[in-house]
């Protein structure tokens, strides 16, 4: 992403963001409430339209991107509309959608991936329960399992630790460690890192819609403890195609 700008209701939320995520990185997007963290990751995926600049997913603009199975998006919270119950398994299995073709039935590979994802987040024994009956932390685990089921290369997680109990946070950290070990790329938005801290390879700190730090993860976490200096990162020659990239228009 280069020169990325996003405005909501004509109010600029992000200004001049340059961000390139390289394969295998574990990037934490940090910042105070309202600094535009969530908007940034959603704009990276093309879920929020840019008012300036451009964003590329594996070298392709989101509107023309066709390999969505390479990306697993974990939204901030489970939105269960209307109250039609859904079982945990149904929600997790729906993570396979980008890998399924319309006229083919759900296959064995789908069922196996769903089972693995349920196992990974420790909800396998509750797969038949409705997601509506779960606590916030457990619902968050369902969302992560949904992304896991799709077996993507890059995970984009919006506040996976917000409002999540300590047990779920540790479980998330273990799950992430497994993904990192297998060379997956992770971009996550966080208010505080908690048990995720040792996994992070790079921190991007936002303040008022601008990147105010990009580099090594800060040791002490918390808005006041963050280094205020600008840290310009020399871009590595782009041999592998970057999973996420924002490019300037002008």
């Amino acid at each position: 992403m280069r020169g990325g700008q996003v405005s909501l209701d004509r109010r600029p939320v992000l200004r001049g963001i340059d961000l390139t995520v390289r394969p295998g990185e574990v990037v934490a997007v940090l910042g105070a409430n309202g600094s535009g963290k969530s908007t940034l990751v959603r704009a990276l995926l093309g879920l929020v339209p840019l008012s300036g600049g451009s964003t590329l997913l594996y070298g392709t603009p989101p509107t023309r991107f066709r390999q969505w199975w390479r990306i697993g998006y974990v939204p901030q919270r489970l939105s269960v509309g209307g109250g039609v119950p859904s079982t945990i398994r149904e929600v997790v299995a729906s993570g396979r959608i980008a890998r399924q073709s319309r006229f083919r039935l759900t296959g064995q590979a789908d069922a196996a991936a769903t089972a693995r994802a349920l196992e990974a987040v420790g909800l396998a024994d509750r797969a038949g329960d409705p997601v509506q009956a779960l606590s916030g932390g457990q619902q968050q685990r369902v969302l992560i399992a949904r992304a896991l089921a799709g077996e993507p290369e890059t995970f984009v997680m919006d506040e996976p630790t917000a409002g999540v109990d300590a047990e779920s946070q540790q479980l998330l950290a273990d799950t992430l460690a497994g993904l990192v070990a297998r060379g997956r790329t992770v971009v996550l938005v966080a208010h505080e890192l908690g048990p995720l801290e040792p996994l992070i390879t790079r921190a991007v700190v936002l303040r008022d819609g601008c990147v105010c730090h990009d580099g090594a993860p800060p040791k002490a976490v918390g808005a006041h403890a963050l280094p205020g200096h600008d840290h310009v990162h020399p871009h590595a020659p782009e041999k592998p195609v970057s999973p996420l990239d924002w490019r300037p228009t002008s």
Partner: protein, 276 residues
Amino acid sequence: MIDLLRYDFMQRALIAALLVGLAAPAIGTFIVQRRLALLGDGIGHVALTGVALGFLTGTAPVLTAVVVSVLGAVAIELVRERGRTGGDVALALLFYGGIAGGVLLISLAPGGSNATLMSYLFGSISSVTVQDVWVIALLAAAVLGVVTVFGRELFVLCQDEEVAKASGLPVRFLSLLIAITAALTVVIAMRVVGLLLVSALMVVPVATGQQLTRGFRSTMLLAMLCGMVATVGGLTSSFYVEVPPGALIVLFALGGFVLALGLGRFVRRSRPQESN
């Protein structure tokens, strides 16, 4: 029940009722999930304009109703997509426009009056013709086909639109697909329960189903079962007690809901581990 089937009109009515009872809750499950329970009502009101247009132009009212309600459904969907707020207001505008348009157009039609619209507003299943049955069967097949083929994608869409987008699903196409399928459902249900009660068949069986189930698929299947029991039960009873079948069908559906409400409470109490 057997002597019922000796009447041709009753055979046709039963087939129509069965198909509607099956199709309406199927698409209704997705609509309820999307918090668009009133979508069916909105389309129903717009369809009235379509019916009147049929009388005015001398074409089959069912055909014009299909065209106008599909256009109305697309309009509702586009307004919903654009405006971040006011989806309910957009629906309300269509409600009024649809009724006013229908009343205006029918008064312009030769020999037409508000009384002509009554059978469409409240249904007239006993006057269903063979041709009507074919149209209903075709449309019901289309609705069930959409649910079967696109069910998985619609499920993701109805859960979370952003996730659907980030999974590469054609979000706008699927949203329109739901709206158009709902419009087709409204038209087939129009003859059975009437435009004013159409939405009841899309919503009430789903509300009934979810009292007793834990999953999306099971809710849908149970809702379809409830829908069929209500339409067939209401229709047969109306044959014996001489009341309008549309009203009886909806009251049957509501009765089922009340029953499920009590039963659901009982079932949940016997599975206490789930209520955390």
